[in-house]
């Protein structure tokens, strides 16, 4: 019999019961909660007179609606404020631990989970947020759910699930200088397509993935959903284990060692068989820039905007034409000639300390170009912000003309006041370039933190390898 994949190991360890048709009642170890997708679920509990099954398995934080400036004066937008206050009230009523807006530990839900050691290897982790796949970087099975399922997990600590198919995406070899985890995952999505991972749990493997830091692996798993896969994961290694030592919610002392011994088994067996295998050569991956309105519309920085006339698939070509119109681009324009108006460094994809270090290193003593009207850095959490300030990174950003903001989702999806105006073009370290994502009519180009920083200084996209 063939060995087990990492996915199968974690899935099997969480089966409460299995129906004859293969539907599994899957136990959920960790439930992260934010203000946008939880109010209707809490309300559902109230209406049915139910209590959360295991309140200690939950951790809540407001992140989507929070302002990134002048936070002590509260939230100006009344509708946003009501949503954040509703989370506060629900957490108080049901006894859920919350890092409220002005708590130093507040931040983007997918940044604080690992940072606090709430996320742990081998666990099942859910959140009413598609980027929950981020936590798979630690050898966990983590995926986004809708609000009805949020309520289901609150009430029962379980979910009804079918076993996903498994895909291994192997990136072999060594990444070039200036090529980051973000470029790796954009290249993967460019290759498999935005629906390539639909129905699969994807395990990222190969020497290039192994050589990434845990934070880099988080950026890769974060965008698994942009390739259609609800869950992305990476096997546990010593880097994973060391990451959790001393984290507030992680086990300590002897219990940590006991857990670590178990965590070391969280790899796919050598003879495990995946339903699908995709292989990329790390050496061939260049810094990536998305040009369209779907994350699969991505090319190397040295390339030109693709021409729909060369696309044989009619539906695809039509999508490309619509994207070019929306993006205000002409086919065959060199990417490096595209001028930008705004720069956003932040989001659950790229707002951790290593991302900020990478951006600051590119900036050095440079200044934001005159044509860039706003360049902002939004750290992923209060603790990331604090660490960056200790290292003097805030000074580098401020000196260059960037704004140094308070933590939250911010302009990744523009639910707060941070947004693009119609027609504005942004170099963004976030994860989605959908129409209107960063503000109605806004035009998003997805890039790595280093590439965003380089674009801020140049005023247009540049190949960070040539600086």
């Amino acid at each position: 019999m063939a060995g087990k994949t990492l996915f199968d190991k974690i899935f099997d360890a969480h089966i409460v019961r299995e129906q004859a048709d293969g539907t599994v009642l899957l136990y959920i170890d960790r439930h992260l909660v934010h203000e946008v997708t939880s109010p209707q679920a809490f309300e559902g509990l109230r209406m049915a007179n139910r209590k959360p099954w295991r309140v200690g398995a939950m951790l809540a934080v407001p992140d989507h609606n929070v302002p990134t400036t002048n936070r002590l004066r509260g939230i100006d937008d009344l509708v946003s404020r009501e949503q954040v206050e509703t989370l506060d009230r629900n957490c108080a009523e049901f006894g859920v631990q919350e890092f409220a807006m002005n708590d130093k530990r507040q931040g983007i839900v997918h940044v604080i989970g690992p940072e606090e050691g709430f996320t742990l290897p081998g666990t099942t982790i859910v959140c009413g947020d598609s980027h929950t796949s981020t936590h798979g970087a630690f050898g966990a099975l983590a995926f986004g759910i809708g609000t009805s399922e949020v309520e289901h997990v609150m009430a029962t600590q379980t979910l009804l699930q079918k076993r996903a198919k498994t895909m291994q995406v192997r990136v072999d070899g060594q990444l070039g200088v200036g090529v980051t985890a973000k470029d790796v995952v954009l290249a993967i999505i460019g290759k498999i397509g935005t629906a390539g991972g639909t129905g699969y749990a994807v395990e990222f493997a190969g020497s290039a993935i192994e050589s990434l830091s845990v934070e880099g692996r988080m950026s890769v798993c974060n965008m698994a959903i942009e390739g259609g896969a609800r869950a992305g994961m990476v096997a546990v290694d010593e880097k994973t284990i060391e990451y959790f030592r001393g984290r507030p919610f992680a086990p300590q002392g002897e219990l940590f060692e006991q857990a670590a011994a178990e965590w070391r088994t969280l790899t796919s067996d050598l003879d495990a068989v995946f339903d699908k295998v995709v292989v990329l050569d790390a050496a061939e991956i260049a810094p990536q820039v998305s040009w369209g309105t779907s994350p699969e519309m991505v090319v190397p920085v040295s390339a030109t905007v693709p021409d729909p006339a060369n696309e044989p698939d009619a539906v695809k070509a039509d999508g490309m034409r619509k994207a070019l119109v929306y993006m205000g681009l002409t086919a065959n324009t060199p990417i490096e000639q595209i001028q930008i108006d705004k720069v956003f460094i932040g989001s659950c994809t790229n707002a951790r300390i290593e991302d900020l270090r990478a951006a600051a290193a590119v900036i050095g003593n440079g200044k934001v170009a005159a044509n860039v009207t706003l360049a902002m850095v939004v750290p992923g959490s209060g603790l990331v912000r604090e660490q960056a300030e200790k290292e003097g990174l805030d000074k580098i950003f401020l000196n260059a003309g960037f704004e140094w903001r308070e933590p939250g989702c911010s302009m990744c999806l523009a639910m707060n006041a941070d947004r693009l105006e119609p027609g504005e073009r942004c170099a963004s370290t976030s994860n989605r370039n959908f129409e209107g994502r960063q503000g109605q009519g806004g035009r998003t180009h997805l890039v790595s933190p280093a590439m965003a920083a380089a674009a801020a200084i140049a005023g247009h996209f540049v190949d960070v390898r040539q600086l």
């Binding site: 409460v16 759910i145 809708g146 399922e149 129409e435």
Partner: protein, 216 residues
């Protein structure tokens, strides 16, 4: 949850691939803490010519005449026909609530994003995946006949065309049963509460570090 047995309605053609949940319901409307009232803002950026914000009188906003759901009879449609990877992106169940609040009961496409597909069943919206050529043919038939209607019979898993011919579709047996009965998942699961408790007791022995339930 709304039960779903059979449904007959007008089919609206939305001829785009990768329709994402940001397009189905833009972020500013996710600030609502309710499950209802999203219908006027389904496809907001495509449907209206002016930017929208929560609390506006959307009935007074200028509509985009080129958008299919603003055209008669598609403004009365209850079945949405779309292209591949429908519902990709965010996990927001608000996308499903917006479609059902608009009046849709069925979405037909060659493929769906996983989270959207899953969310649909929870609110009684039936997502039907059909082979690409069947979808192509439906697009052609909708274009050729004004007010084209289909009947969906979930029990027999058939889409019945105006000429009486039928296309079979597949649906997960458990989900089908839940839809037909309008069952509450949580009630069903809580029938197995003893199994959940037993699982926790056993897991606490083998992985005690998962049950620290610490408040930092």
């Amino acid at each position: 949850m709304h039960a779903f047995t059979t449904h007959t309605g007008i089919v609206a053609p939305l001829d785009r691939a990768n329709v994402d949940t940001d397009a189905i319901i833009p972020k500013q409307y996710l600030k609502s803490i309710k499950r209802s009232g999203f219908g006027p803002n389904a496809f907001d950026d495509w449907r209206y010519l002016t930017p929208g914000e929560p609390g506006m009188n959307h009935g007074q906003r200028a509509k985009n005449p080129d958008f299919v759901l603003n055209q008669s009879p598609y403004d009365q449609a209850t079945i949405l026909l779309a292209r591949q990877n429908f519902g990709c992106g965010s996990s927001r169940e608000h996308a499903v609530w917006a479609l059902t609040d608009f009046g849709f009961r069925v979405v037909i496409a060659p493929s769906f994003a996983d989270i959207f597909f899953n969310n649909s069943f929870k609110t009684g919206l039936l997502p039907i995946a059909l082979p690409e050529d069947s979808v192509d043919e439906l697009f052609r038939e909708v274009a050729a006949h004004t007010g084209y209607q289909l009947t969906i019979d979930l029990a027999s898993q058939k889409i019945i065309k105006p000429d009486g011919s039928a296309i079979e579709f597949s649906v997960d047996a458990f989900r089908k049963q839940c839809l037909i009965e309008g069952a509450d998942d949580i009630d069903l699961t809580l029938k197995h509460a003893a199994d959940i408790t037993a699982y926790e007791a056993q897991r606490q022995q083998t992985a005690p570090w998962l049950f620290l339930d610490k408040r930092a």
